[in-house]
Assembly symmetry: C2
Homo-oligomer: 720 residues x 2
């Protein structure tokens, strides 16, 4: 389809400026008809005679609609008449429509009256595209007609899509059965709806100016479809790729610095500069460390320098923690000193309003000019537990026992990030890298995600996100994570209107439409969690060496109540608790007392916990069952020493299994400290509530399904 030239002319006609321009329905219909879209036959009549002539040409009955750029909701002002049967009615209707239009708005520009073939009733869909300011074109399809907003039954996808994806968009609608053949009715023409989506796909790839296409209703028949109403909005497409994306990055100097200068270091730990320097020293940084402060001789035994230039050696990383207005001069001295990586902790930039915004632009320009990779301003810093390098001043670093591990974490909220870091440590969970991005004057979330993708110390990437500025950079980074088979686990805030207000008052980030984010995350296979604390839970889950290959969960508990709770949880969330094979049931029946349950969910009864060999046999049988993709064990109140015996049995089964095993334990930690210690030593994450272990299993399955490309299971999971 070669459309660019024709549409370009139309856009010339429309005199497109910065504001979006709406086409009239007739213009839109005509354009789409020319491009081969199955629009209802129709012509623009400008006189009574033309109205009659077109009506005859089309064949009665016909529909007539007023065409005016000033009248968008035609039905509401008597601008639409259906079922016109003959010449005389056609003539009268033409006059009536004009009178109604003038009465509604005497200044309205009337392009004429659209005469259309009267369509038989079919299933009504709404089909269209919408350009998100951050991520670009999204296609959508849903239950159409006048109740679109009430029922909210629709699915959306980031473009481009292929035919399989278009097909699964249809399947995601609640009313999909009406399309595929409901209650013995003949199936409707799904293929034509898919083709319509593909046509929109092509159109958007060639015409970035498309802001909105709304086709509503699209009538779907057993054979064919008919687009009965067309609404098109055009708008200049904005180039939103920031210049800094092509900057050379000095990530090694930022994350693995051999030498650090702290500009604004202090010996007063009540000051941020004092806390920062204290944490670097306290947590055992191994490289060379230079405090810079013209007012001090030494800090914590380190000789202090009056300026960067006074330091006799080269510096990998500048940690800048001075007053906001001093930061430009400090950055200039970084350039003079040849420093290529800096973190600015200072606040007083875009987050405080327009003066701060100007200052932020200034430091971005300086960093660009000097080729400096910059994190911040208004950052809490970067921590690399894996290297004992803590260039951060978050309160979490008060701990005497930081833990390193395989999780890389990047946060747009310093406070939430720091709190999560401390909670992770509390649970014995370690991070490889921890990054507070601050205001993202230079480096932003996508840059850090890319770094974590390449970072060999990081196996799981997690992020707390308020808003993405550069959609395509984010998509690139997420795709890189997917290629590297590193799970990308995200919490995204700013969903509610009030939440967006909060985000905007705090950072410069644009909190985009949540539905768009949802599409993008689905497209790139990112795992979106619902609660911040799940960032830690899920990351723990991903320490499992294997992924589930499907959503069929074997459940083993020692209590009927736990069976029921886990079964409810699985079902609510789209996980399947299948029947076990006969062989497995036989093995279980041989092991457990008669008042247990041999069916999935299996209740081995509390009695069996003190018979570890039997318990192990049950676990082995369930995990090996061909009907099962993963094993979930829910423990209740077992106490040491029985609990430790149980823990050993679970670890032994886990070591031999080629399917993931997750463990929940509702009983308090104080009942089984030895068992919990054993689990920790053997890298078995234990989740304290049924809902949390089920949720983590869902996310593991979701990631597995992305990896193994099982679309149909994903739809079920994401819809729940």
């Amino acid at each position: 389809m070669n459309v660019v030239r024709e549409w370009a002319e139309l856009m010339e006609q429309c005199k497109i400026g910065d504001a979006p321009v709406a086409m009239t329905e007739y213009q839109g219909t005509k354009q789409l008809a020319d491009l081969g879209f199955p629009v209802v036959e129709g012509y623009l009549a400008t006189t009574e005679d033309e109205a009659v002539q077109y009506s005859r040409q089309i064949g009665y009955p016909v529909v007539m609609k007023i065409m005016s750029p000033q009248i968008l909701h035609k039905s509401d002002v008597g601008g639409v008449v259906l079922g016109i049967q003959n010449d005389s009615d056609a003539k009268d209707t033409f006059g009536l429509l004009l009178r109604n239009a003038r009465q509604y708005n005497s200044a309205a520009i009337i392009h004429g009256v659209l005469v259309q073939k009267m369509q038989p009733k079919g299933l009504e869909l709404i089909v269209g595209v919408n350009r998100d300011p951050v991520f670009g074109h999204m296609a959508f399809v849903g239950a159409g007609g006048t109740t679109v907003e009430l029922l909210k039954d629709f699915s959306m996808r980031l473009l481009p899509i292929n035919e399989v994806e278009a097909g699964s968009m249809l399947q995601q609608m609640k009313i999909y059965p009406l399309l595929s053949g409901y209650r013995g009715a003949n199936p409707l023409d799904e293929a034509s709806v898919i083709q319509l989506l593909m046509k929109l796909n092509t159109l958007c790839s060639e015409l970035p100016q498309i802001k909105e296409v709304d086709l509503n209703p699209v009538f779907v028949y057993e054979h064919g479809i008919a687009i009965s109403d067309v609404r098109i909005l055009l708008e200049k497409s904005r180039q939103n790729t920031p210049a800094n994306r092509i900057k050379q990055r000095y990530l090694d100097k930022m994350f693995n610095p051999k030498s650090i200068a702290v500009i604004g270091a202090s010996s007063n730990v009540k000051k941020n500069g004092g806390r920062l320097f204290h944490y670097i020293v306290k947590h055992g940084y191994k490289g060379k460390l230079y405090p810079v402060n013209p007012g001090a001789e030494e800090i914590l035994g380190y000789p202090c320098f009056p300026s960067l230039e006074a330091i006799p050696e080269t510096i990998d990383l500048a940690c800048i923690i001075v007053r906001a207005e001093q930061t430009p001069e400090v950055l200039e001295s970084c350039i003079r000193k040849g420093i290529k990586a800096a973190i600015i902790y200072s606040s007083g930039f875009a987050e405080i309003g327009w003066e701060g915004q100007l200052l932020q632009q200034k430091i971005t320009e300086i960093a660009d000019r000097g080729g400096i990779s910059l994190c911040g301003p208004n950052s809490i810093g970067i921590a690399s537990p894996i290297l004992n390098t803590y260039t951060a001043f978050g309160m979490a670093l008060q701990t005497d026992h930081p833990i390193s591990g395989p999780i890389g974490f990047v946060s747009q909220s310093g406070a939430m990030g720091s709190a999560l870091l401390s909670r992770a440590w509390e649970q014995g969970v370690g991070f490889s890298r921890w990054i507070s991005v601050g205001n993202e004057a230079d480096m932003a979330i996508p840059d850090f995600i890319k770094f974590l993708v390449d970072d060999p110390e990081t196996k799981v990437i997690t992020a707390f996100i308020e808003g993405i500025k550069d959609g395509s950079a984010f998509i690139d980074a997420a795709e890189a994570a997917r290629q590297a088979r590193k799970p990308l686990v995200l919490y995204k805030t700013g969903i509610s209107e009030v939440g967006q207000r909060a985000v905007q008052s705090h950072t410069g980030a644009l909190a985009g439409n949540d539905q768009a984010y949802q599409c993008v995350f689905a497209k790139v296979g990112a795992i979106r969690v619902e609660n911040v604390s799940e960032l830690i839970d899920v990351s723990r889950g991903f320490m499992m060496p294997v992924l589930p290959k499907g959503n069929r969960i074997g459940v083993v508990t020692a209590s009927g109540g736990a069976c029921s709770v886990i079964a409810d949880g699985c079902s609510a969330i789209g996980l399947n608790v299948p029947q076990l094979s006969t062989g497995t049931q036989q093995v279980i029946a041989e092991c457990i007392p008669p008042f247990g349950a041999v069916q999935n969910p299996v209740d081995v009864t509390a009695e069996l916990l003190s018979k570890p060999d039997m318990f192990k046999r049950v676990l082995q049988a369930v995990v090996a069952d061909p009907n099962v993709d993963a094993l979930l064990i829910m423990l209740t109140t077992s106490a040491d020493p029985v609990a430790s015996v149980v823990a050993r049995a679970i670890v032994e089964v886990r070591d031999q299994a080629d399917k993931p095993i997750l463990v929940g334990r509702l009983g308090a930690d104080f009942l089984a400290p030895q068992a919990l210690q054993y689990f920790r030593e053997h890298q078995v994450p234990v989740f304290p509530t049924p809902d949390r272990v089920v949720k983590v299993m869902k996310y593991l399955v979701e990631f597995g399904m992305h990896q193994y490309g099982k679309e149909e299971i994903l739809i079920n999971l994401i819809n729940k």
Copy 2:
């Protein structure tokens, strides 16, 4: 409306036995017409001539439908013809319908052809009633027509209802705007739909035999409604009130026993009987204690008796922990000894199948005969921390530091109940009473709830529920809780089909339809939580001395990220984060730095936490704001000593406020042990994650709205 006689005749006709009996549409239509329901005019034609005659009488166009008890889905077999215009068509259609019916099922009994007035299109609703086997009649109303099952847009209520409740049923539908006047359209006749629900309400109150009434579609017009299709199912109503409901109860002897005999006590703590006796002693029971075991001289220093009768004193409570087959004889000896309260811990009853079921019936009969109040069998026991009386053997009792408090807890799962008890203690939360109901051979959940309602030690009642056997007893107990203004907080499992399987294989309880439970909980103002661990969270929340009077939440945090997360959480759950009044905003602006947020959610910034007076002023201003019903404070990583200063400020504000204040804190406990200790000492529950504190606030508001009768806010909360 006096209908009993007429319907009784019809039921005689229908020869109602134990199985449900369906009326044909004509029978149903006629009955409802006689009772004044606005059914579409229609007559049963048994010949061609009658078909023509009725068609003329009604006036063309008409609709014809085949009437046969064997043909339920008439449309699917060519049993319905619409829009018949004249005598000749009416005659032909009559023949056609008969032929189609015979072709579909040659043995079908044909009652005739229903000739109905052809109705103009209106909004299609489904309206009806359904009798739940446990709770009785439920009314429902929803989006009607053929897509009922796909859209699942309906609301249900337990009968009886009044007109206000009927009205709010309508408002709960997503498509309600179509009824109330959508996009400038005239409103439809809501009042007639409400009247229809009220007619069904009356009908069911007079005719318990009604099993199902399905009116679908009911056309709703601007003036009037028309019931176009009627489906009625009748069934004998079962009397499901167990005899034991009229037994005299000896709750004081069960819960506050002055003397206890433990039949089956042992000095081996690996045995259940050993553990039970050990826990009674260990946790300091103050009354007289008698181990009964013919094979022992003494246990833990208590002289042992060979039988109950050998004990020289009267006994309040018998704790029976012997093999299942010995329990009848032990109960008989209880009768001989004049004991009126017993707990049977032994398993091997209804939960193991039909033999156990028989044994369970036997002990129920003995208990009834002896007038014994019985808890169990298969119970883990009863604990009264408030009295240091622990007649239970759950592993939670391993603790050396049990805590008492205002929460009464009753559980149908011993294992889950015991696990939750231990988790509560871990969080510093105490119980007044803890009850494992076991198989409920005699006393059941409603009996225990009633006890907790009357128990002065209990302020909040919580329950883990698998299934209720006696619906009206439950409703009575819950109503009593509401009257006493004690929150009833429930977790109900057995929602999923698999979950129901698990429940049924474990206990004898009937896991009823979840939707029915939902209706009942809403009706009695019980708070249903989604996750088991929320039972503890919410109960902690209810320790607040005051309830919110609305759903408008003031939010104060020290981080923009936290503001956004809380705002998202509130909005997802139906809580409102309103604009603060101008005066409040001015006070906040005077206190906080320029990069904070004076709007709700308020970001005071981390800086303010070290200025406790300023922080207090902000809290006081927000909690006093007339736009706000409750205050939610979300802390992040503040560490001692700052965290302690913050804690003191919060407690001071709480002490003077007449609105509830909840606190969340995402940062790890190890950062602020002193602050957390201070909160605990001052009864301020602190929740570790944003989602948990928001959830608890939602439940507080829900209970407040039930108490204050604010239906419109409740609808919003329950729909979310």
